[in-house]
Symmetry: C2
Subunit: 333 residues, 2 copies
Amino acid sequence: MSVRVAIMGATGAVGTELLKILDERKFPVGELRLLASKRSAGTTLEFKGEKITVQELTHDSFAGIDLVLASAGGSISAEFAPSAVKAGAVVVDNTSKFRMTEGVPLVVPEVNPEKIFEHKGIIANPNCSTIIMNLPIWPLHKLFGVKRIHAVTYQAASGAGARAMEELKQETRAVLDGTPFQPSVIPHPYAFNVFPHNAPWIESLGYNEEEMKMVNETKKIFGDPSIRVHATCVRVPVLRAHSEALNVEFSRDISVEEAYEVLRTAPGVEILEDREKNRWPMPLDASGKDPVLVGRIRKDISQPNTLDFWVVGDQIRKGAALNAIQIAEKLFA
Amino acid sequence: MSVRVAIMGATGAVGTELLKILDERKFPVGELRLLASKRSAGTTLEFKGEKITVQELTHDSFAGIDLVLASAGGSISAEFAPSAVKAGAVVVDNTSKFRMTEGVPLVVPEVNPEKIFEHKGIIANPNCSTIIMNLPIWPLHKLFGVKRIHAVTYQAASGAGARAMEELKQETRAVLDGTPFQPSVIPHPYAFNVFPHNAPWIESLGYNEEEMKMVNETKKIFGDPSIRVHATCVRVPVLRAHSEALNVEFSRDISVEEAYEVLRTAPGVEILEDREKNRWPMPLDASGKDPVLVGRIRKDISQPNTLDFWVVGDQIRKGAALNAIQIAEKLFA
């Protein structure tokens, strides 16, 4: 069997990672159609040593395509995903556009793979911070029942795309050289600085959209609207992996040892730490890697039944491209 | 009246800031004796346009001195503070050595200034992250009663001293240039990376010492051992101001507006935000400034009576040197 694949947003940070992972995981790619904006059309990208010319994305781009991997932004997905579905393709959408839409499955394959087969043409890939958080918390939730999660994030430039990563490097060099720099992608000074996530701020709630994604998507993925989720999302000058400090209250007593035991065999999770050396997961450890790294599990001394987890995951891989391809693998298995 | 001042650790990041602030605030310096390790003795530092030669710190360094500002590390304070007290000086100690010692006042002047006058020769200056957290929370605690604080930090290189700041810059340049770099101050890769705070890890608790300082010092400063405090301390590649995401549960209902109203007139605190522009306090805003910047106060949707605060303060100034000099000002007023 082979699958005819189209990639929307092929030239972006997630798009180029999709190409890499399709190759690495030997996904049965029949045809590969690379789609992007008019601006990027005509450029070439490599797949399995072959140069492929990027085509302009239009409503007629999807004839004969089985699978569309979409990561060109929410408004592009809103406009073109229906055309892809009409042409008979299944869209695995990396954008936030359809995630909370009734009837659209929102899937982390290690958590709710059964939802994949309920799709009506579109399957949504969750927010990167949500996926990274859900992976270690889900197996614990099944056994110990999560009551409340408070997630505080340390998010990398990659979440804002390849241009943001490049801008962070250029701006950092300018600061070190003492030369002026005018950012055009990230709205705040980013070199040697941190700031609450620049996703649109929802005045009625006081949360930003990134935080509300972690709140709402987790309830949908876990299939449990009673879980209380609170998030504080912050950008840090890191290139491509997100870190998260998770404070999790369970319904019943859970020891640090029990949590380690569960996570040692949890799919997609790797324990990485050297307690004697005070050495825990770091973004540089996770960059370019598949598993979500977990360590530094400890009891919260301020309240009962509560543990802390330090979690780090590659935002571009498991936070986006890898999760989408894992969904596609199950879909076409 | 004039005060004869000695500075222990005069050449460090806090030491040089002490000199700057003594001048800025027109502290009535009579004599100024700069003390440091043998290695730094003989170098000169400027104070009010005058060059002062650094002397080697010995047990005989304190004759005729009224005030010692100590920031040369815990073991140095342990060894030399008693000699200073014996010579008749009052020591305001920036290290952690005596903070939790029974009978040694631990003071944030905006919180518990009355404790200053209970000293027996040594007054302890709290940990930087503790001071920055305590400043906005104290006036709210008095009115609404804090039950639990969960603090998650984004700590700058300055907390590890001037050499760590320089190392972060050099290492970042090496990463951008693609040249190898071997750090000697910070034990982990720091450029474009984050890691749980490298303060010694306390195996029996699972917390590191930085976190336990925030827990224990807050209880002592607030004079209330019943407050439940939980902390997660993390270093980020920022040069000199700490940021903190504070999740605070109160004994009774408190609105976002009430919290803003209290903090608008709280001493040492400044509200800095532009809600329409999604713009909140950042380390670059706070660097070199006195007030602790607060913004982004919001209701935690996951549990009642709980608010979030985003707090940023200069680690070297209010987190260390400024707080120490404010204590000295009250002492010699």
